[in-house]
Each structure stands twice: as C-alpha cells, then as structure tokens.
Symmetry: C2
Subunit: 374 residues, 2 copies
DNA sequence: CTGAAAGCGCTTACAG
DNA sequence: CTGAAAGCGCTTACAG
C-alpha cells in the first residue's frame, strides 16, 4: 500500500533478496560480461553496434545475452549516455480526431526513428501545458512537441520561452506544432500550417459562389488558431471590398455541440440576421451546424451551404460530405519529429520552421445561395 | 548528422564544455545542495517530501531549486530508486476509436496517479506486440498494458508468458486488456469484458424481434475477441434450439470498409442466402454494412436490421443510430492502470482479474423483420 | 579490437 | 532532523 505521500511503505523483507520465483535473476551488463568472459565495455559495444567488435567476441556476448534474458536498462543508458530515444507530445485531448491524427504521425515517425513516444493530454486544464513540459523535461525527452493553438498573451509566451530555453540547455528541443513561433533566439522549432490562408481560400470560394452573408461559428477567442482563421475570413471579404457584419462572427468552443447549439439558437432568435452559408471553425462545429440546420427544416447545400476546417475523416463521412480545408494532420506530426531530429543535429542551430501545405476540398455541402425570394 | 549506426558523430568540440548561451548551467542535486548549504540527501528529501525536514531547511532548498531552475532527472531517479512513474500501453492503432478511448482512460488514470504514459501502436505488424513489450521493459515501465484481442495460439501465448515473467522479475506487471488470461501462475493481470455474453445478449434481442436469418460480418478469425463474439452468437441460437446457417458467418477485417464490401457482395451474389438482420463484428463494420444496404435500396431498419459492437461515438452519430453492445472503453483503460497499481502493492500477489460490465443499447437501427412476402 | 576506471545524477540505508 | 557514502546499471574517453 502506498503511504499518503505516494511512496511505497517499507516492507519488512530484507531488501534486494530475490523472490523464490525469480528464476534467472534480472541480469545486468556486469553479469553478461562475466558470462561471456569479456569486459562490460565490450558488452556495451556489441549491444549498441556502434563500434567494431571481433566476430567471435560478438557471438559470445550475444549468446550470454540470450541465455540470461538480458534487457538493457534504458534509464542507466540515458544517464550514462545522453540520448533517451524518447519524444514527448502534448495535446489538448487525445480523443479529439484533430489531435489523434497528429499524435499518430508523431508516433509513426518516432517509431521509424527508433524512439518511443510519451503522450500527454492537458484536457483543457489551465497551466497544464506548462506542467507537462516540465514533466517531459524531467524525462529528458529528446524533443517536446506541443500541439495546437495556444493562448497568445505575452506573459504566457514568456513562460513558454523559459521552458524552451531550459530544454535547450539539456540539448532537447521544444517544437510548436500549429502555434506561432516564440521570439527570436528562443530554441524552439515550429511546424506551421496556414490558418489564415486556408480560411481566406475557403471564404473566397463561398464568396465566389455568390454568398454575401456567411456566418462564422466556433473557435475559442483567445486561441491563436481561431484568431488566424477569423483573420483569413475577414481578409477574403476585404479583398472584394465587402464588409463583414460583426454579428456574423460567433466564436465559441471547437465542438460539434457548440456548432449545433449556437446555430440552432441563431436560427431561433435571428440575432445574427440572415445568412446563406456557415463557416464552422472546424469540422466538428460544421457538422453540428448541419444538424441544427436540418432540424430547422433547412437543406444543405440547397438552402444553406456549410464548410469546415481540418478535414478529419468525419468530414467525408457525413451526408452531405463536407467541403473543408484539408490539413495534412499525420504529416504535421511526422514533420514535428523530423524537425526535432534535425535540430538536435546542429550544435547550436537557430530556430527552425517547417511549413505544411493546406488546400480546399470541395465536396457536397456547398452550392450557390438560393435565388432571392421572388 | 547521425552516422549509419544511428549514433551521433563525434563533434570536434571538447566534451561537456557548456555553450556560451547556456546561461544558468543545468543544475544537479549537488549544486542545489551547495547553494542551499545542505547535503544532497536533504535536497532529495525535500524534493520527494517523503521524510521530515525542518521548515527552515526546506525553505532554503526550495529557494535554491527555484533560483537555479533545477529540474530533477527522472532517469537518475529511476536508477537510484525503483519506480519510474511511467506506464506503457500497446494498442493496434491509436486512430481506431476503440483504442483511442481505452488509451484515453489509461492516460487519465495514469495522470491522476502522477504517472506518465508511453503509448505504442503495432499497426498490425506481426510480432510488433512482443517487440514493444521489450521496448517498454527496457524503459522499466511500472506496468505494460496490452490492449485488444490477440492471436490465440499456444506458441504465442508462451512467448507472452515469458515476457510477463521477465517483467515480473523487475517488479513490473503485464496487464491484458480484453484478451484471455495467460496460464496460471504467470504474473499478468487481466481486465475483462464479456464478448461472449454481449454477443449473446444482442443476438437474443434480434431473435426476440423475430429475426431468424442473421448475417454475422467481420472480425479476424484468429483473434480471441472474434472467436468469443461468434461463440455468443451461436449460443444465442442454440438456446432457442435454432441452427445457424454457416454461410451466414462471414469473418474478415474489423473495418468499415470490409463491412461495406462484404455486404455489398453478398447482396449481389446471394451466396449467403437471405437475411433480415446484420450483426457487425464491431460498430465500424456495422456502419459499413448500413451503407451497403442503403445503396442496394434497402432501408434500415425497415427492410434489414443492423447491430454493432463496442458503442464508439460513431454508433450514436449515424442515421439511423446504431443498436449495439456498450463497452465502457474509458473505464477499461482506467481499470487496467488501477489493477497494475494494486498489483504492485502486493509482495508477490497472484494473477488478478477485473471484469467490466457490458450491456445492449437499443437505438434506431433495429426492428422486427418485414412480414414475409404475400 | 579490448579493458580498467571514471562518471552520469539521483536515493537510501546507516549512523548520528 | 541531517550528512557521508555506497550503489543503481550503463557508456565513454583513455590507454593499450
């Protein structure tokens, strides 16, 4: 039983006495060395394969490893060497497909590079990110990948920069994935996808179809992603000399539920005025909006067009299939670990940035607005 | 640049010379101790809070920690102490909702217990599980949680048992989540959900509705989960003295795609005979089947009823909402880490098993079979 | 190609 | 309540 401090209570047994059932006792390099009749240095060298070793010697060591069932201790290795072969990733919520797919990319790339992956979710806890960075720092992760848009106030960015520097001193790297770069000189990489550009492109598509009153729903106001997407939305209007009715911008959560409820409400009370298209801040919001429209007796895309952002699988699976901005989520995850690896190669390299492309995917949820009432 | 062996090449710089930019050099307990004017033992004690320390002493140490920006090295800690405060989880594919939700539960429970989570996916690679268990063993994870049904041949189970014993010697535990227990005496826990019972219950529900020809689609034949579900399907028929037409059992992948393709094909060539209901081996398969039925002009549930298994969110989101067997996925993940923690508390406890409940959720995809053609 | 030895950064009996 | 010292299990210059 753990004590209140969470430490195991002292057992009355003599320490380090192997259990009866232990069988071949847990082996160490020391024991492998003895069994093979060589030094521990030699064992280490055959294990790591990073140094020439005579064939016969190698054979003896491998034999000993096998018969003793030796499994290297990664902690001893990490302490004596320098790399941990571990990357950490911090997301908001692993069950949100946006994060799941990025985490998936991180995991695959890490696996290909022979690294293991520590995944952590903040679940929206304030300061959670910072604590998790610290926890991953304790683990001396080779890289810490922070995914998703962040709150964007100066005090917070300063704290993040401090963490990045602390990590940098350790030879590790903070990689921001989908969040603006920190100030110059801070050792942090960034994997960037163009929120403003994507939002601009899909808004322009809607405008080109003839829509003039587009409702923008969802997205937490403090998040950098949200701000960037709204900026693209506005810029597309501005390029055509159009003004946007502020009532049409309805920030909120990034959830299906929010999309559903807010659109249902606006349809009910009309407080945003009329609209012929809905731009969901992400696919979840858009799908929620579609449901609200359907329940109000409106047809998509005949009466109202709907678009989303991210292109999670759901977007292609709903009916009608959703027009949206495609983000290469898995690739973003892969890019993040590749960047970290590249960065570690440099003795004291500067901040690096990697951009991934984005494009509009036109499916069945968009059409020209209905002809004005006769 | 890594050399071909994957090790960093020697740099010409003198080792351990701090970079100009290092700022407050990476601190160690040693340095914290000096700064605070105490011994390293004392620093360790205030850091771990597991031993009485004078208030004033504690204050000095905490102060030193803060000004030096000290971050404990988890590897040194793991090597000197015994626990790593890390759990490992192995799934087949993190983007499959079944696994995502279990992983989510593992992660939350681990976080609540102050542990970090190493998550690994096999992506269906043969032997992947075994290699990943070894990798997690190297990391000395406090527990290794293996999720999902496994291939069920004796040779494989023997290998698994070997791994479990090796882990056990280390004081760590293998926990099988949704897979049959290993032989007696092997130090492995299991979190069990009743596949046979669930399949029996939902089949019985369909039978009670009047269906007599139910198509069972999907599920890889070698997997223990599949075998258990089919067993439940058969037993439900047997209880009513009904025979099952073997052509109605169509194993295959656990995917939406397979469900779609196989049902489409059977509808085309009629090689399974008639059927009035479809039992998808999991929700994905069931949703694929619904799509195939719809495209063939059949209506669900009016012409054909459809049920699934697992109750992932998709099940409630499709139209019509899917009748299925509910599995408490998140809870299963949580149970797995709780079990591991409990097991570690015991000096040499026996194999433990935890059962989680299962129940049928009736939604809109089921109805009595259509009346026989007039 | 190989070995002896130092050292990585902690924790934990042991002894006050 | 505190400290001196051993030891956890590896890797890596250094020296042949």
């Amino acid at each position: 039983m753990p004590t209140p401090q969470g430490k195991p209570s002292r057992t009355p047994r003599a320490p380090r006495t192997p259990r009866e059932t232990d069988g071949p006792k847990r082996a160490t390099v020391q024991e492998v060395a003895e069994a093979a009749g060589v030094s521990t240095a030699t064992v280490s060298r055959v294990l790591n394969g990073n140094y020439p070793v005579a064939t016969e010697t190698r054979r003896k060591v491998e034999q000993a490893v096998r018969t003793l069932g030796y499994v290297v201790n990664a902690h001893a290795r990490a302490l004596a060497g320098s790399r941990t072969r571990t990357v950490g990733i911090i997301v908001q919520d692993i069950i949100d497909p946006f994060y799941t797919f990025i985490a998936h990319g991180v995991q695959r790339q890490a696996a290909e590079d022979g690294k293991l992956c520590l995944v952590c979710s903040t679940y929206g806890v304030v300061g959670g990110e910072l604590d998790l960075i610290d926890a991953l720092h304790e683990q001396r992760a080779d890289a810490v990948i922070l995914v998703g848009g962040g709150v964007d106030d100066p005090a917070y960015r300063r704290k993040l920069a401090d963490r990045a520097r602390a990590l940098g001193r350790e030879g590790s790297w903070l990689v921001l994935c989908g969040r603006p770069a920190l100030e110059d000189g801070v050792p942090a990489g960034v994997v960037d996808y163009d929120n403003t550009g994507g939002a601009h492109a899909i808004t322009e598509y809607l405008l080109g179809l003839g829509h003039r009153r587009i409702l923008y729903v969802g997205g937490p106001e403090q998040l950098s992603v949200h701000q960037a997407r709204v900026a693209g939305f506005r810029r597309a209007h501005a390029s055509r000399g159009l003004e946007v009715d502020e009532r049409l911008i309805q920030p909120g959560a990034f959830s299906r539920r929010f999309g559903y409820e807010r659109v249902a409400q606006l349809l009910r009370d009309g407080s945003a005025g009329e609209f012929t298209a809905v731009f969901g801040a992400n696919d979840g919001v858009a799908v929620g909006a579609m449901q609200a429209l359907r329940e109000a007796g409106l047809r998509v895309p005949r009466d109202v067009s709907v678009v989303g952002y991210d292109d999670i699988p759901l977007a292609a699976e709903v009916t009608p299939a959703l027009t949206t901005v495609h983000l290469p989520l898995e690739q973003m995850g892969r890019e993040a670990v590749r960047l970290a690896v590249a960065l570690r190669g440099e003795s004291d390299g500067p901040t690096g940035t990697r951009h991934v492309g984005t494009h509009v995917v036109i499916r069945d949820s968009t059409a020209p607005p209905p002809a004005p009432a006769p």
